[in-house]
């Protein structure tokens, strides 16, 4: 059993007990513990169940590479699944629960999968759920989905806050071990602006645990001194609990800072996502120890040798009383020594190498530890936790020579540099024949905007595996990074460490090397995804020779693991199966983030009220207070209608239509785009922008215009007012203002840059109020201040003046068919003006109306709406708008495109009105069927509904649609198909349903 040692523990404060719970059980640890170290200290070796086979699992690692100890943390608004116990700092009141089991961690029904595991080989899902086809959707997928996934998705709204922060630095150093510190120190000395980030709460990485000596002092003291030195430099910024998550093009990097995970509810943001722009990035990300593949290597109690050492030294936690060390390298001897020095038993070191000599081996031997060379762990004994190991010769097939009783196994298969961040943006790797790992290829670094390398790996992350080498390398990389950013000030002395003498490691990818299939089926490569040696071998036999295919077929290295523990061992097994060298098999792609980051951090401040920008008109609050039912129009919110007490939405819309037709309605039209176009060439320019002739428009007059793309399709429409000889004000659709302004600027800047035209988007300068209906003029006359008579202000004219004391511009334009004044007033006065119109209109029955009433009234008049009648494939000619297309102009945007044969085809679908025979409302988007089928075996169609409403004015359904040769087929009845098999019969009629002569608007 694991337990707390009586003395020691670099990180823990024994004076500060911390209470927490695991699966409801109350436990206690110390400040400075991780959840993992506290669980181990409390004897909790079983922490979860594996993904596929529900096998009991314990803690394997001590850092972000931990594959098993994923727990649910917190509750309600702070619940989060899949949190690593090894990187979770303990705090008072922490609540953790284990995952992937039912009904309990100790007794899990799903473990049946384990006993059936030979029926779940690699590619099981692909092989099993093939047929019948319909079964996938209705049977297999729902079942698999329910049982898939590790943790539970949170249900409550996240109670914490998150944010982003943008930093621009010369040099970003990722990793705060001795290499990162050395690199930052030298880069800083050279004068560069440096940001140094470390994922854990502690500086120094492994060196203090491993007992290195630097510049004549203990590594821990060197780290402390160096951090103080760096803190004293004004050009260096240091952050702990900040993980380099990803490296991207042009020196962009994401750093994930965990501010208050260890102290929830202290008011700070929980996470901060740093968006760093660095001219140079140094990845001093260290290395991760590899497991060894022996049978039952996933039993709780089997741990990485370095993790065992970490827990003993950092947290004073013993993983067991008797720990067998199994290794292929010298480094694991440090674990044996650390255990022995802590007063614990190491029954044996099982070393797969035939022989090895070196100081660490001598030291272990000197402590009286039994060392067996050329030996392997044939299998681990035990069912729910380690009870012993069976020893065999590494060279053989697994015949047991001896059983050694133990309650923990510390394994080391060698070290792999953490190359994730180096690789994210294209850095390539080379295979190191001495250390049997991939390390960064300095010749193939990620390159930036100037074509030069911008990422440098440093220290063990760069394959420099001894303390002395790592420091020298990191120092040089820090210096080089600073120089690459133009900083070459003074150089500090290189930190020095004594040379370390290691015996060569031996590549051991399977233990024993000739293990039979029964053993191979119990050798785990990827704990998290339950992938075994036998699975990868099966994949290779079945032809999945590409490493990327093998990964997806077996799930090796997928999900949150991203190959941290499994990658090299899996590749080696695949290479062995294919009889190819490992570098030829290559690695899978490393993708950011390095370890999972929270969704909250990605969203940052974008949630709740500020999830996205919401555009409000000056009258927004009035609408809100008066029953507005909102409709999103782009980012704008516009009232769809204004509901009165007890009124349904449809009733409200119909009331608004009737009131506008009979009395007077008010429309907040502020969202309409308003673009000022000015200059001696403005008329010429607008002649190109619009299909109409705009240059002949007289000052003081308005003209409805159409805009097409260069591809000929209708893209926007609106009324253009000529303010004076040189100046036009172009109205656009509500959603089109920014787009059309951009469109104009694009042509002015990139094609006709010698034309004398300036534009300005004045959309938001004005609040605009439509006063619409037969009583509209009376309302304005009551407000007083300017002549709004038909003589002074005829239809399609505008005038500047004063109404009720407000400076206004009044346009006589109509989108409803009624007498209509659109009145622009400075936006800051918009609300006051709106109130004034309402007050004046009260005696005439003025009521506001929303966008739906607007839509109905324009449809009654047969006016098209961009986005309803148009969809990016419709030309103005399709909509009967030939009258708005100048025949005199030599050119306008879209003219050439409209000359193409398909655009002039008389068979094109064209705009018509549609009226159901029974007065019902056609379904929107419904198609009219035609005889026969097309080449794809689908029913032919001959038209579709583009706008459809119940007209309260006419008391029946009205619609517009595009129909093949429609205008030639007046009176013909078409069958439109709705959902549920219903068919609607509708007659082709004129699209103008109301006041075809225009007598009402032109008065």
């Amino acid at each position: 059993m694991s337990t707390r040692l009586a003395t020691g523990g670099r990180h823990i404060d024994r004076a500060r007990a911390v209470e927490f719970s695991f699966n409801g059980k109350r436990l206690s640890g110390f400040a400075g513990d991780t959840l993992a170290s506290a669980l181990l200290a409390g004897g909790q070796t079983l922490v979860g169940r594996s993904f596929k086979y529900h096998r009991p699992r314990g803690i394997v690692a001590s850092g972000p590479e931990e594959p098993n100890a994923l727990v649910n943390l917190g509750k309600s608004g702070r619940f989060e699944p899949n949190q690593r116990a090894t990187t979770t700092e303990l705090f008072d009141g922490l609540e953790a629960t284990s995952q992937n089991h039912w009904p309990s961690l100790e007794f899990d029904v799903g473990v049946i999968n384990n006993h059936l595991s030979r029926f779940f080989p690699a590619g099981f899902y692909y092989k099993t759920f093939m047929a019948p086809r319909a079964a996938w959707k209705h049977i297999f997928e729902p079942i698999i989905r329910r049982s898939a996934g590790l943790g539970k998705a949170p249900k409550d709204r996240d109670a914490d806050i998150y944010e982003h922060f943008h930093a621009h630095v010369d040099v970003l150093v990722i990793g705060g071990g001795i290499a990162g510190l050395a690199a930052a120190r030298q880069a800083g000395a050279a004068g560069a602006q440096v940001l140094l980030v470390e994922q854990s709460p502690h500086w120094g990485g492994r060196a203090p645990v491993d007992g290195a000596e630097i510049d004549g002092m203990d590594a821990g003291d060197w780290v402390k001194n160096t951090v103080e030195e760096l803190e004293g430099m004004e050009n260096i910024r240091l952050r702990t609990r900040a993980m380099g998550a990803g490296v991207y093009d042009h020196g962009y990097a994401l750093v994930y800072e965990r501010l208050s995970d260890h102290a929830p509810e202290d008011g700070r943001p929980r996470h901060r996502l740093w968006k760093v722009r660095a001219r140079q990035i140094v990845t001093a990300t260290g290395a991760i120890e590899r497991p060894l593949s022996f049978a039952m290597n996933d039993l709780p109690g089997v741990m990485l040798a370095s993790a065992v050492r970490d827990y003993v030294v950092n947290h004073a936690v013993s993983p067991g009383d008797r720990t067998v060390v199994v290794t292929n390298n010298d480094d694991a001897y440090r674990t044996a020594i650390a255990l022995k020095e802590a007063g614990l038993e190491v029954p044996a070191i099982i070393d797969a190498r035939p022989q090895a000599q070196g100081p660490l081996i001598e030291a272990a031997r000197g402590l009286g530890i039994r060392i067996e060379f050329g030996r392997a762990v044939a299998k681990v004994r035990g069912s729910a936790r380690v009870e012993g190991v069976a020893v065999a010769t590494q060279a053989g097939e697994g015949a047991v020579l001896e059983d050694i009783a133990c309650d923990a196994v510390a394994m080391s298969g060698g070290w792999s540099p953490v190359v994730h961040l180096w690789s994210h943006c294209g850095g390539k790797l080379v295979w190191d024949e001495a250390h049997h790992h991939f390390r960064p290829d300095p010749e193939k670094a990620p390159t930036g905007a100037d074509g030069a390398a911008f990422v440098r790996a440093a220290g063990t992350a760069n394959g420099a595996m001894t303390t002395a080498e790592a420091l020298a390398d990191a120092d040089a990389q820090g210096r080089a990074a600073a120089e690459a950013t133009g900083h070459t000030k003074r150089r500090k002395a290189v930190p020095r460490a004594a040379a370390e003498d290691f015996a060569p490691m031996a590549p051991v990818w399977m233990m024993p090397q000739g293990a039979d299939i029964k053993l191979r089926q119990k050798m785990w490569l990827d704990y998290q995804n339950d992938v075994k040696v036998s699975d990868v071998q099966l994949a290779a036999r079945e032809g999945f020779e590409s490493v990327e295919h093998t990964k997806r077929y077996t799930t090796l290295g997928m999900a949150t693991d991203q190959g941290k523990l499994s990658n090299i061992n899996g590749l080696a097994v695949l290479a062995g199966s294919l009889n190819e060298p490992i570098p030829q098999v290559g690695t899978t792609t490393f993708r950011p983030p390095y370890t999972p980051i929270s969704m909250g951090a990605i969203a940052g401040e974008a949630r709740g009220e500020i999830f996205q920008p919401l555009r409000r008109t000056p009258m927004h609050d009035w609408h809100e207070a008066n029953g507005a039912y909102w409709e999103p129009v782009g980012h704008w919110r516009r009232p769809y209608c204004y509901q009165r007490d007890g009124e349904g939405i449809e009733d409200a819309v119909h009331r608004e239509v009737r009131n506008t037709r009979n009395n007077v309605g008010l429309l907040d039209a502020s969202t309409l785009g308003k673009i000022l176009v000015k200059g001696p060439d403005a008329g010429k320019f607008l002649d190109m922008m619009y299909t109409n002739m705009m240059s002949t428009l007289k000052p003081g007059r308005c003209r409805y215009g159409l805009m097409c793309t260069e591809n000929g399709f209708l893209t926007d429409d609106g009324v253009v007012a000529r303010l004076d000889e040189d100046t036009f004000l172009c109205h656009t659709t509500s959603g089109g203002a920014d787009r059309i302004h951009g469109h104009m600027e694009e042509w002015l800047q990139t094609e006709w840059w010698d034309w004398k035209v300036y534009t300005a988007n004045l959309t938001e300068q004005y609040a605009q109020v439509g006063v619409v209906g037969p009583m509209a003029r009376e309302v304005l006359e009551l407000m007083g201040g300017m002549d709004v008579s038909a003589e002074a202000l005829p239809f399609m004219a505008f005038a500047d003046g004063v109404l009720a004391g407000f400076n206004v511009r009044v346009y006589r334009i109509s989108f409803s068919g009624e007498m209509s004044f659109e009145i622009a007033v400075d936006a800051h006065k918009g609300r006051a003006f709106w109130d004034a119109v309402l007050e004046a209109g009260a005696e005439f029955g003025a009521m506001p109306y929303g966008t739906e009433a607007l839509h109905i009234m324009r449809a009654e008049k047969g006016f098209i709406m961009i986005g309803d009648e148009t969809d990016g494939t419709v030309i103005p000619q399709d909509l009967g708008l030939d009258w708005a297309i100048s025949k005199k102009k030599a050119d306008y945007l879209g003219k050439r495109a409209q000359e193409r044969s398909h655009m002039t085809d008389p068979d094109r679908w064209q705009l018509v009105g549609l009226e159901t025979e029974d007065g019902s409302v056609l379904p929107d988007g419904a198609y009219a069927a035609a005889d026969g089928e097309n080449a794809n075996g689908q029913k032919n169609v001959q038209g579709r509904v583009t706008s459809t409403y119940h007209s309260p004015t006419l008391g029946k359904g009205i619609a517009m649609g595009l129909v093949k040769r429609g205008p030639d087929r007046m009176g013909e009845v078409l069958a439109f198909h709705g959902t549920g098999g219903r068919t609607y019969r509708a007659k082709i009629v004129s699209p103008v349903f109301y006041d075809p002569e225009g007598e009402k608007q032109n008065v």
């Binding site: 944010e163 621009h168 943001p269 004398k756 004005y766």
Partner: protein
């Protein structure tokens, strides 16, 4: 009728680690033209009473100033109540010269962010470098604040003026408020 003019934020104030406050209505006139021409320079400096800004510069004194917006655009600041006469003066100075001058006072909101760590609140929202080495009083930056375009300049070592479109004033105030929540100081600059 200027007494009926209300800014979209109606005087909102948030006291966080930086103070975020509605600056109220401000006169703003956009001028597009040949910035090298004497007429444009005179039109702007004549009403603003400050030197004509170079590329990327902001020259502001009190409520008046000139911001360089693009190679052919400047923004002239003046008290809100003086915008009509200011625009008339600008137009008179530029008569006969190809240009565009327009009152955009009501199309914008002006928000101040002040405090020792004001830079940090801004840096949470913009990809632009606002470190003291890169951005100082006298400069203007048009960029993005979270999801919307905005511009800002510094009126002192610890104070920013931020302008955005009127319709998104509450959004921008909201994100600045979120960026200035006490306890979220970054301690970076």
């Amino acid at each position: 009728m200027s007494e009926t003019a209300v800014s979209p934020l109606a005087g909102a104030v948030y006291e966080g680690f930086a103070r975020v406050a509605d600056a109220g209505p401000r006169g703003m006139i956009t001028i597009r033209g040949d910035l090298a021409s004497t007429e444009v320079k005179n039109a702007a400096t004549g009403v603003a009473g400050v030197d004509f800004p170079g590329r990327g510069e902001a020259n502001c004194v009190g409520e008046k100033g000139i911001l360089w917006m693009s190679p052919d655009e400047i923004l002239v600041l003046c008290p809100y109540g003086e915008v009509a006469e200011t625009l008339a003066t600008v137009e008179a100075t530029l008569a006969g010269k190809h240009h565009l001058a327009a009152n955009v006072s009501d199309a914008r909101a002006l928000i101040t962010v002040t405090g020792v760590d004001a830079r940090e609140a801004i840096a949470k929202l913009t990809p632009a470098d606002v470190s003291p080495a890169a951005f100082r009083p006298g400069q203007v930056r048009r960029t993005r604040l979270a999801q919307v375009p905005a511009a800002f300049w510094m009126t002192g070592e610890e104070s920013f003026d931020v302008i955005c479109f009127r319709s998104v004033a509450r959004y921008v105030f909201g994100i600045l408020q979120a960026a200035a929540i006490p306890g979220s100081e970054v301690g970076y600059f």
